[in-house]
């Protein structure tokens, strides 16, 4: 269930190159929206650099609400999402308190109805307090509108609990989204185990800390015949495990972040806390494997893992800084600049993995540009250049790995659920 502050639908006309990979549209068209619904699609004229596509869906956002509204609120987070071209986002439950009961979830949903500019769904915790001990009341959470279950931010350490959660969540039609990390292997880890961690002396977080848990969770999901979603994959070995499971018929989906697609652990040499994430940036071969998996569709979702942090939390030595970077407002431009323009990823694939892929993985309505559908579209100016600055964010936080970088391609308008939510 997605909720937002409901307004009436808007009327507008957009014209230019329309690219909807799921519908196989790539033509110069004029799209008319009446009362928030696409009412006509007619031949139109292309204008330089302008591209109209189904708006984006982000399955992995930390809205920090409740508890850390100084870092993000539902309002600021959804304004950031709108500026990034998103028509739907899913928020993670590792808040203070954790979203592990119907009362906490219900209050959030109410708040989103008041504040959310873009339709927002909320995942609920797998375990109470995300402590990895007892299951949450999944059926009640599902009826209150939970989008899926996850303990993201930390792994479910007990294999037995993952198994119970897979079994019990079958009473709902929601899937588990799993943060795969073997904590005994990642303990005190601040960077990918490799040349860079060895040289800098940073605690090592090996690829295997992720891929062992990916293997385990895929095996458990297979045992229970349940679908799972793998959060923020970073390691080659994890993709290989996923490929094996998919070949055997697993109903697993997976996501990858823009930062893991663009950067490698080489960036950590700067000791800039804005390149510290969990999972960590890995080696060039891992990055290439992730890009390949995204091209093939084995990894079908791009997720920002938008993780706002207050400046005082990030203005500290690398080793003391928390994990996480923001991403909602830069995802498309970062990937267009670093993957599409150099020829590493087709534009159609990027658009598909940022929209249809995540919507399908979580059973959300797929944004489509077709007559009769609610308008969920993004207008992009592919020729625009812009520089990422601290002052330019709608998000309350500025912990971006792209600060100071000049990017190509920019969101100029976002229409979410029939309303114009952003005009740049």
């Amino acid at each position: 269930m997605l909720v937002c502050a409901n307004g009436r639908g808007d009327d507008l006309v957009v014209e230019g190159r329309v690219l909807d990979p799921a519908l196989g549209i790539d033509a110069a068209l004029r799209v008319t929206v009446t009362n928030g619904v696409v009412s006509a699609i007619e031949p139109g004229s292309a204008s330089e650099g302008i591209l109209i596509a189904p708006a984006f869906v982000d399955p992995h956002v930390h809205l920090r609400t409740p508890g850390r509204e100084d870092e993000e609120t539902i309002r600021s987070g959804t304004e950031a999402a709108a500026a990034g071209g998103y028509c739907a986002i899913l928020a993670m439950p590792n808040t203070e308190p954790v979203v592990d009961s119907a009362s906490v979830l219900g209050a959030l949903v109410e708040r989103a109805r008041e504040e959310a500019l873009v339709p927002t769904g909320f995942l609920a915790a797998i375990s109470r307090g995300q402590r990895g001990e007892e299951l949450t009341e999944m059926v009640e959470l599902a009826s209150e509108g939970a989008a899926a279950f996850t303990d993201d931010g930390r792994p479910v350490v007990s294999a037995a609990l993952v198994r119970r959660a897979l079994q019990y969540s079958a009473l709902t039609d929601l899937r588990l989204a799993l943060h795969c990390e073997e904590p005994a292997l990642s303990r005190n880890g601040h960077a990918h185990e490799g040349v860079v961690s060895a040289e800098l002396g940073l605690g090592a977080y090996p690829s295997l800390a992720e891929s062992l848990m990916v293997e385990r969770d895929l095996a458990l999901a297979d045992l229970e015949r349940r679908p799972i979603h793998l959060l923020h994959l970073s390691a080659r070995e994890s993709v290989e495990a996923l490929d094996r499971a998919l070949a055997a018929g697993a109903a697993a989906t997976a996501e990858v972040t823009p930062h893991h697609l663009v950067l490698t652990d080489d960036a950590v040499r700067s000791l800039d806390p804005n390149v510290k994430m969990n999972p960590p940036l890995r080696a060039a071969l891992d990055r290439e494997t992730l890009r390949d998996a995204l091209r093939r569709g084995a990894v079908s979702c791009i997720a920002t893992d938008h993780a706002p942090h207050a400046p005082e939390e990030k203005d500290v030595p690398f080793e003391e800084a928390p994990f996480g970077v923001t991403g909602l407002e830069t995802a498309f431009s970062a990937l267009y600049t670093h993957l599409v323009l150099p020829g590493a990823l087709a534009l159609e694939t990027l658009l598909e993995r940022m929209s249809t892929g995540p919507a399908r993985a979580f059973g959300l309505a797929e944004p489509r540009i077709e007559v009769g559908a609610r308008a969920n579209l993004v207008v992009l100016d592919l020729d625009a250049e812009w520089t990422v600055t601290e002052g330019g964010f709608r998000s309350r936080s500025t912990n971006s790995w792209l600060l100071g970088e000049t990017l190509h391609g920019r969101v100029v308008q976002t229409v979410a659920d029939g309303r114009v939510v952003f005009s740049g």
Binding site: H190, E193, G194, V195, V196, S197, A198, E199, L200, G201, L202, A204, L271, P273, E312, D315, V316, P317, F318, E319, E320, A321
Partner: protein, 326 residues
Amino acid sequence: MSELRPPAPPRRHLLSIRDLDRSEVERLLDTARSLTSSLDRELKKLPTLRGRTVVNLFYESSTRTLASFELAAKRLSADTMSLRSTGSSVDKGESLKDTALTLAAYDPDVIVIRHPAIGAPGVVARVTDAHVVNAGDGKHQHPTQALLDLYTMREAVGRLEGLHVAVVGDILHSRVARSLVQALALVGARSVLVGPPTLVPRGLEALGCELSTDIRAIEDADVVYVLRMQRERMAAGEAYVPSLREYTALYGITPDRIRAGQVVMHPGPMNRGVEIDARVADSEAALVVDQVRAGLVVRMAVLYDLVTQPAAREPLGVTSEPAEVV
């Protein structure tokens, strides 16, 4: 208006050996050598940094490094101030950034920082206008230690190019080893890192050294550099080695493992009877005291070099013999 002023030259720091190239390392060692004559004078103070301020900001307990930096600054006539994390505002939860900003209000020329977290010197460099010297950040870097070690090796053996150095012990947790190996590679020396497999991180060979788990790898070395073995490495949950006893049996530097002509170094403080046998520590081959003495002149050289821009350098104020070329 500020835009009418010529741009200020970039502030120079010593955060990592990576900040230096070979010629800069050699310049620092030569400056240090020219300063040694001042140590033997009756009046040991030089006027070079009169009116300058050097702040030592130490977040970890340290005896020799803090004493060495304090004395180095004083010998150059700088005003010095040393702050330790205990008994200061850090105890009250002040962040490193705020402490650095507070100190910056006194316009220090140099801030020397030791901190348990990797990347701390970079924070101070970002938020103040001072030249920053890293006196040790976590397991990352301790560049003045590496420079004083090079200085000691050059004085003892007479050359650095082609010198063969074996570093023995807990490489994984050692900022001394990381800095030293980079510095040795920079000056054309060869290094091999020796220790138990759990304490020699894979990937370090990318720094241009060899890795070994066999103590016999020290046999051919000109210099045997012994690292401190910390008891914490055997704590429950850490367990990098099963016992100090087994560590000492496998990697302890005993007289029979040292051949004639080899010199032995240790950054201190030593655990006699653990990583180094007392007979080796007290032998002619041990250069531990030379290292301390080198620390003073090398740190004087670093402070002098950072504060006086190379283009507009004041005379050093000591008569020096031309330094030997390495």
